[in-house]
């Protein structure tokens, strides 16, 4: 009697298991889809990215050619200056899109460099441990103690005004937070059974790190990276404020904001247009980052 009951139970459990089979990533994805702010942000961001890519093709104006008949012109449909023009009569619709390309590019490029270095550094320090770990983390502490302005000054004197190189370099000094996060996660992974199994299996340490540690910290890295991108974009705008940003006639959201802040009393759209674009982008990245964190946080499972 009991045996048959148990057998029935096992069978029904097996049936259920087949129905419910979902991976952790699918679970996380479902949770992410349930986060309204994050999903809306994703769509807004996609729209902004689309705008940045195709807007220059939709306008008959070039980003660097002044329209002499329309300096400081407010936005209007008839003239074709949908977002108005700047002090030199250049079309803001096109310039906002081009500036967006630069801002998003530096945001992503800088973050990518920081992610690559930070993940490798943190995983190695945490996994190897011991004296190497102490040495590596001391180095992180030294880098963290240096004021950011100092790096900016040194980098600008070394690279001149080469904009993309500066961001590769900025990425190369702002990986420390990422390294700390990855190291912490690695420390807690390193004593798990599946890592012990790889030791028994005889895998070399570098392979354990790249095949088994890194894939398991990727969720956290993704969260942190989405929050790094807005930081990079803000930093670009800070450089533009100091006059160290992209060179004319090329532009970025930061440069446009800086110009707009100077003329806001006479031509408020010159501030509003880039401000809206940049602030909504930063908002989106923040909400997506929060959504990812909530979705991937094992404590909520």
């Amino acid at each position: 009697m009991l045996a048959t009951a148990r057998k029935g139970l096992i069978e029904s459990l097996q049936d259920n298991v087949e129905v419910r089979g979902r991976s952790l990533w699918e679970d996380a994805w479902q949770r992410f889809l349930g986060n309204r702010a994050a999903i809306v942000s994703l769509f807004v961001l996609a729209f902004i990215a689309l705008f940045v890519m195709v807007a220059p093709m939709l306008s008959s104006y070039a980003y660097d050619e002044p329209d002499w008949g329309a300096m400081h012109a407010p936005p209007s449909w008839e003239s074709g200056h949908y977002f108005g023009t700047d002090a030199l009569g250049r079309d803001l619709f096109v310039r906002a899109a081009l500036g967006g390309r630069i801002s998003l590019l530096v945001g992503i490029l800088g973050t990518l460099v920081a992610v690559l270095i930070g993940t490798a550094y943190g995983a190695i320090a945490g996994f190897i441990g011991g004296r190497l770990d102490r040495l590596m983390m001391r180095w992180v502490e030294i880098l963290d103690s240096m004021p950011f302005m100092f790096f900016v000054i040194v980098l600008v004197t070394i690279f001149g005004r080469n904009f993309l190189l500066i961001f590769v370099a900025i990425g190369a000094v702002s990986w420390t937070g990422m390294a700390r996060v990855v190291r912490g996660q690695t420390l807690s992974l390193k004593n798990k059974e599946f890592i012990e199994a790889t030791h028994i299996y005889g895998l070399p340490r570098l392979l354990i790190i790249s095949r088994h540690i890194v894939p398991n910290v990727l969720g956290l890295v993704a969260v942190y990276a989405t929050l790094l991108v807005p930081g990079m974009i803000l930093f670009e705008s800070f450089l533009s404020f100091l006059g160290l940003g992209v060179q004319e006639p090329m532009t970025s959201w930061g440069a446009l904001l800086n110009e707009g802040a100077q003329t806001m009393e006479v031509a408020v759209w010159q501030l509003v247009v880039p401000a809206m674009l940049m602030v909504s982008t930063l908002f989106c990245f923040n909400f997506i980052g929060d959504g990812l964190r909530d979705a991937l946080d094992p404590k909520d499972r």
Binding site: S145, V156, T157, F241, L242, M278, N286
Partner: protein, 307 residues
């Protein structure tokens, strides 16, 4: 506990030394010199100037004399403001930045913690969404957009407050810069506080406190506040240094004679001794605050002391 404090202080010294060394050599090897100008100088004059600042000596001697100067609190002469030493200039600018910074710190920590607690208590209600939207807005809207808008509205339109200047730190002159600077930090602190408070509120000892029938206020103040503030402490140390050493953007917009101005002017004029001096000062402060935070942690949490 005492041995932990000693060990932590001893650890900080080599860190600081490495930081000074790296900054010194990076600045020395940076291309361009403060004395190259459009007007070509006769080589003898240039040699004289370089001799005055000790640039004719071998690098290791310059390094050594810089270190021994540092030990006496001397950051060397400014290359650009003739007849002034870096220490004198910093001595004038630091109190200004410190005054603004401490005000910003007190305002944003108090406000940020309060807002964070409120958002955590009313998680996923309109109150939470409002507070968090404002916090994110405070973080992502650049200071140099907000600051001119504040000036436009309060100084030019309403004429309530001065548009800039310092005037020995009268409160009318402090209000706008402090507000512009505090919005980001407040948002930042509120977000961290909300996250850690939610985590604490989900723990068993809070459920126990609720089960005992304690009023919410007692639970928050007696049981939840202290553990929830722990993650904040590690962020506040470095943030504090960033705040009290001056904001480049704020000081520029409001014309405040603080450290941020010195940093930017030093950078633009290639006043390398100024840049180096500020870097060493900020670095030393950061290392010191990190040590203080660690010691505070060890005081609160005995597990750290013995690990």
């Amino acid at each position: 506990m005492l041995s932990f404090i000693l060990r932590r202080i001893l650890e900080a010294i080599p860190t600081l030394l490495v930081l000074i060394t790296i900054s010194f050599f990076l600045i020395r090897f940076a291309p361009g010199s403060p004395f190259t100008s459009e007007r070509k100088m006769p080589p003898e004059v240039l040699a004289n100037i370089e001799a005055k600042y000790g640039f004719d000596k071998p690098l290791y001697q310059q390094y050594w004399s810089y270190l021994s100067g540092l030990a006496r609190g001397d950051l060397g002469p400014s290359f650009v403001y003739k007849d002034y030493s870096v220490s004198e200039l910093v001595g004038k600018a630091f109190p200004v930045s410190l005054k603004i910074g401490l005000t910003v710190f007190v305002v944003s920590v108090t406000l940020g913690i309060l807002l964070g607690i409120l958002a955590a208590l009313y998680q996923n209600t309109w109150a939470d969404y409002t507070i968090m939207s404002f916090s994110v807005a405070g973080i992502v809207i650049p200071t140099y957009v907000i600051a001119p808008l504040l000036v436009l509205f309060f100084a030019i339109h309403l004429k309530w407050l001065p548009a800039g200047g310092w005037n020995d730190g009268g409160w009318q002159y402090m209000l706008l810069p402090v507000a512009a600077m505090a919005k980001g930090f407040t948002g930042y602190i509120a977000r961290i506080m909300r996250g850690s408070m939610i985590e604490v509120l989900n723990q068993d000892f809070i459920r126990t406190a609720r089960a005992k029938g304690l009023p919410t206020r007692t639970i928050m103040l007696r049981h939840a506040l202290r553990p929830a503030m722990l993650p904040l402490a590690s962020v506040l140390g470095p943030a504090m240094v960033g705040i009290i050493t001056g904001s480049v953007v704020i000081e520029n917009i409001f014309g405040i004679p603080g450290m941020g101005q010195l940093f930017v002017n030093g950078a633009l004029n290639r006043d390398y001794s100024m840049v180096l001096g500020l870097t060493v000062l900020v670095g030393a402060l950061t290392i010191a605050f990190n040590a203080i935070v660690d010691i505070a942690y060890a005081y609160i949490d005995p597990k750290i002391r013995y690990s």
